[in-house]
Amino acid sequence: MASLGSFLLFATFVICAYAVAASLSGARRGSRRLVESGVGAFYLIAATMTVASAVLAHAFVTNDYKIKYVQHYSDRVQPLFYKITSYWGGLDGSIMFWVFLLAVFGALAVYVNRDRHRELIPYVVAIISGVQMFFLFLMVVHKNPFDTFLVQTPADGQGLNPLLQNIYMVVHPPSLYIGFVGMTIPYAFGMAALITGHLDDSWLRAVRRWTMVSWLFLSLGLTLGMIWAYEVLGWGGYWGWDPVENAGLLPWLTASAFLHSVIVQERRGMLKVWNVTLVITTFFLTIFGTFMTRSGVVQSVHAFGEDRALAWMFSIFMVAILLFSFGWVIHRLPMLRPRYDMDSWISREAAFVANNWILLIAAVLVLFGTMFPTMSEALTGNRLTVGPLFFNKWMMPLGLVLLALTGVAPLLAWRRSTLSNLRESFVWPVLFGILVSGTLVALGVRVWSSGICFALAAFVTATITQEFVRGARVRKNATGTDLLTATIGLVMRERRRYGGYIVHLGIVLMFLGFAGEGFKMDAQVLLKQGEEATLGHYTVRNMGVKVTDDGQKQMVTGQVAVSEDGKSVGTLYPARWFYRKHEEQPTTDVAIRRAIAEDLYLVMPAYELKDQSMSLQVVINPLVSWIWMGFGILVLGTGIALLPERAFEFAIGRAPAGAATI
């Protein structure tokens, strides 16, 4: 089976090379048959990668420990579910998973657009196949997941790291990967548009949905990562500005900019250079992020390893991407002239430009902070690290400005805003923002950044509500229905716009959650049995430590009675788990009492069974639940924006496209 897998990878590499050659020569000579055969080869790649994935999954399920990768990431007692998901448990498998996803997505994207964007297709095929060739090359020469042991086959595997044996870790990598890989599609179409010179908006239309879906999965992946850090790692927080987290955030920032910036090109024919630049940057950052986390070039708690060959291959590939992409951008600059110039700085276009700049600067800063230790070492020989302090200092103001823009931009008119329309748009939201700020000051909120964040959140929420109410009123008067029906009709009629507003609302809630960090409380205590400690208005009491066993692991569970303001609210059970295969790596089972206002978060890192004492980390995390709720709303909004064009035609009373009208 292993040799079949290796053969499939090698064969796929060859097919990719053919797809590139056939598509390019077909496009150059205008030979439809060559182009068609390139597309055929491209579909075949998806098929061979699917079979290769099936071979690897089969090896995991049948405990084929001849294969090093399988032996490394699975064992006999592992539940079937985790056996299959071990596919992306390590580096070699995740590269293969990457190619598999890209092959499937690419085939889908080409299939959907094969007639509509005929002139772009051969180049799209060539570019995606080229990217696949890189990853396949990496696997075939350096990181083959089908590598076998040469001499003896181990009887059992080492088992997947217990930290990874939970549902978040099963869903988190694939969703991030789908996001990462999905960004290759817009890049390929963008490059195809640059190469062919078909630089109207058609390429944007082809990739709009791909970008949105990828962005959604990136958001999901990042959020799941936060939940995982919060609930499984027991770090007490959800974001530590770790290089690996940053690697996922970078393309998210530029992709968010791209999603917004595209609107301006569609509406006003401006920002064309911005859009190709953002799509290239986003794709580049997905590759860079993978490289950063997987090559050990950034020494973090995550990356203590070193792999020079991998680092070199990635570096060459990344330089090639940049030269090739921006070379074409520079070559096509004359064709990327805006249709209109900016009329006024108080206009929606200007707000979009500001949004692009801020998101780009944020990405540059995160990149800078992440790479700074490596850069300082390379330049001075002294390795200087920058901590969360640096990131928070920069990201907080940028985040607040972004939040303010979220409220301001939709209220501005295209081209130029007049004083009277500014007045009528801003009056209520600003008043509401001021009202909330006044209340906060009266309540004595001391954390400035959080206070400003709350006030801005109020302002933005008011602007979004106002947009909905206004639109719904107009519609109600026009159609004569009630307000609710009018609102639904409004949202369905302009799904992208109002879906976008709902996403903004989700972002506002997430920001509220982030602002809660300013009121975090944290204590580390050692409690003998019966002793108690107080933090904020909570009191925790050690009621003893129990040991149980479920066959796969031994569990040491602390029993902590919690009371709030003197009233008992129940018992929490922070625990330590010792997996049979990984006794040296106990895992932390965090106990969390969730509430709308704040989470009480307990970790028991150490204990004494003799006298039933425990060390306890007690953390009060205000407003954390709002982050998860906000994310739910973000998903809802994106879902609405993604709804197909024709699904609701009957409901919103428009003639379907192509209907005979007199």
């Binding site: 790291n161 800078f368 390795r383 200087l384 580390q524």
Partner: protein, 138 residues
């Protein structure tokens, strides 16, 4: 068009300079030197009082905890050089004999004072091959 290009040029230069200046000022506050134990212990006085992150391995059976408290004393070594460290607080799961650690804190005359939450043990993450495993089949 010319004028516009000049305007854009000047604006971007000003922006870049402003950003660079701001970066420089924040970097001075938030940075820490990342050193291995042996690099620091060659000339400890030079590093005293500076914010450091120090990388090394916990010396076998050197971890001491004061009774009924979270006060730890331990030694960290790397390539033969050893430094004493003190820490108050909770240590991560992977903190034990011979484990690879990065400590945040300051070097003083009496040893390395680790800041709260400043013990970062090697993350047993999937991104890394595990080290020191016996040959397969053992």
């Amino acid at each position: 068009m010319k004028q516009k290009a000049v305007k854009i040029g000047i604006t971007s230069v000003v922006l870049v300079l402003a950003l660079a200046g701001l970066l420089y000022s924040t970097l001075n506050e938030g940075t820490e030197y990342y050193k291995h134990v042996e690099e620091v212990m060659v000339n400890p006085t030079q590093w005293q009082g500076k914010n450091l992150q120090i990388h090394g391995f916990v010396v076998k059976s050197s971890i001491l905890r004061k009774r009924d408290s979270l006060e730890y004393k331990f030694k960290v070594q790397s390539k033969g050089a050893v430094v004493d460290a003190t820490y108050i607080g909770i240590v991560p799961d992977t903190f034990k004999d011979d484990s690879e650690v990065v400590l945040k804190g300051r070097l003083e005359a009496d040893g390395f004072h680790v800041t709260p939450n400043g013990v970062m043990a090697k993350c047993p993450s999937k991104y890394e091959p595990k080290k020191g495993l016996g040959s397969p089949g053992m």
